[in-house]
Symmetry: C2
Subunit: 259 residues, 2 copies
DNA sequence: CAGTGGTCTAGACCACCAA
DNA sequence: TGGTGGTCTAGACCACTGC
């Protein structure tokens, strides 16, 4: 451990001190990971920004560069940070061209394709139903923002989505703001509401189109649709968005890679 | 690099020698990864077996332990190896209790659940249709094994699967052998045919039940089913199995985690 | 050129496991 | 107790980026 008594940054960094007896052993790099995570959570380092260099962090935290490296490696593996050789390490963001629509797994059968158009049909403040409240860890009846939109691929409506967001955090969200923003909606959430979606759980089912679906997706009633229910989380495993999508899977499919 | 001239193991290990000018730079640990992969591919180290220790490999390959470590770390990340502290590093296998049914993402809505029963309806040698041949990289009309089975969850039929395998490799596969084997089918493939499935691509669609499906899955005709087309790969990204499954998603769902 | 991440080493010590 | 993987260090050198 370097002896330099300067550049102390985190007075709370009791790193490298094994206190007490009962608490389970925690490797140094895990503690460093936690410290970095705290900076991300509290918005100290924002999406798209560069974080201090490995050497810098090593000095601040009073550990070797290799230890910081391992911490950053794991965070980069979780898509929380992005390393760029020669440039630095950056906070991941949904705004990047390369990883845009990271959570949208619908592909055209012939290969790629991204939504060509987005139509926001509705966005309003409502009271949370029981299941929405449960998913978002709110009290039943609490205010939530509810939006509905259609995604078009090559001019054809393929996805109908209902979205629920905590009313507290997303106060002021309107159909206008959702529709006019260029780029992924999750990028807008970062920029305008300071919320970064980190991971998500999806539950998929096959369902029959209702009259509503049929109209909005331009298919026959009772025709099969892929129902995708997504719960997205920010830092700290806090649920921040519930989304129920209905996908037309004629000539498109949901692609999943299993390791 | 240690100077010990002993314990040479791989005469082909030109590791640490940057030859030529044109070929792109390849880190040492990548080359080590390749060497380990070759051992796995050629069946030198079989599923479930322990591979040599890090120190042993470091000596064989004439590199430092840290370099071997990084190579193994990545292979473990890809689920090709499994590290067990205090015991050693092992070749991953589908036979392990903990990761059984790793590729089956169907869960009951109330939580977990694994298939309680497996009924093999059919297994025979046929000529590959055009699309099966394309997926498995065979010539159209070449021999393939084709099987059909039903998976039951808590006594209820939930999954109907058609499976296609290269006839060459899976010669001798019968319904009897598929049905009587205890444990995952992929574990049997490892044990009896020396084929380990490493990863898979899945394409999901919502479809309407045909008369066939209705009968075998005990649902009404045209009722929505989740169609899961899976292409599984062995080492070297060689396609080794095509599987088309139809899932009943009443009270069950396909679960996916997005990072 | 300086600064960043990427690779590689050599050695120390720790945690875990089995005999 | 000895062997295995797991952590941590300190320092060297390389590859990439941008000024």
């Amino acid at each position: 451990m370097p002896s330099a008594p300067s550049a102390t940054d985190t007075p709370s960094a009791d790193v490298a001190v094994d206190e007490g007896a009962a608490p389970a052993f925690s490797p140094l790099y895990q503690q460093i990971k936690t410290l970095i995570l705290q900076r991300l959570e509290c918005g100290d380092w924002k999406p798209g920004e560069m974080i201090p260099s490995e050497n810098d962090l090593a000095l601040r935290f009073r550990v070797s560069q290799g230890t910081v490296r391992k911490a950053i490696d794991e965070l980069a593996g979780d898509n929380l940070l992005i390393r760029r050789q020669g440039k630095g390490t950056f906070v991941a963001t949904h705004a990047e061209r390369h990883v845009q629509y990271r959570f949208l797994k619908l592909r055209s059968d012939s290969g790629e394709a991204q939504p060509s158009e987005r139509r926001v049909l509705d966005c309003r403040r409502v009271r949370a139903s029981a299941d929405v409240a449960r998913a978002l860890q709110l009290r039943s009846g609490e205010a939530v923002m509810q939006a509905r939109r259609v995604l078009l691929f090559a001019g054809i409506p393929r996805v109908l989505e209902d979205i629920w967001l905590p009313g507290q955090t997303f106060k002021g969200l309107t159909a206008e703001r959702m529709g006019s923003y260029q780029g992924p909606t999750y990028a807008m959430f970062e920029l305008e509401f300071g919320v970064r979606m980190v991971r998500a759980d999806e539950k998929l089912r096959a369902t029959a189109a209702t009259a509503d679906h049929a109209l909005l997706l331009d298919v026959a009633q009772t025709s099969p649709l892929l129902c995708v229910e997504r719960l997205s989380f920010t830092y700290n495993d806090a649920p921040m968005e519930l989304r129920r999508g209905f996908y037309r899977t004629d000539s498109h499919h949901y692609h999943n890679q299993l390791n």
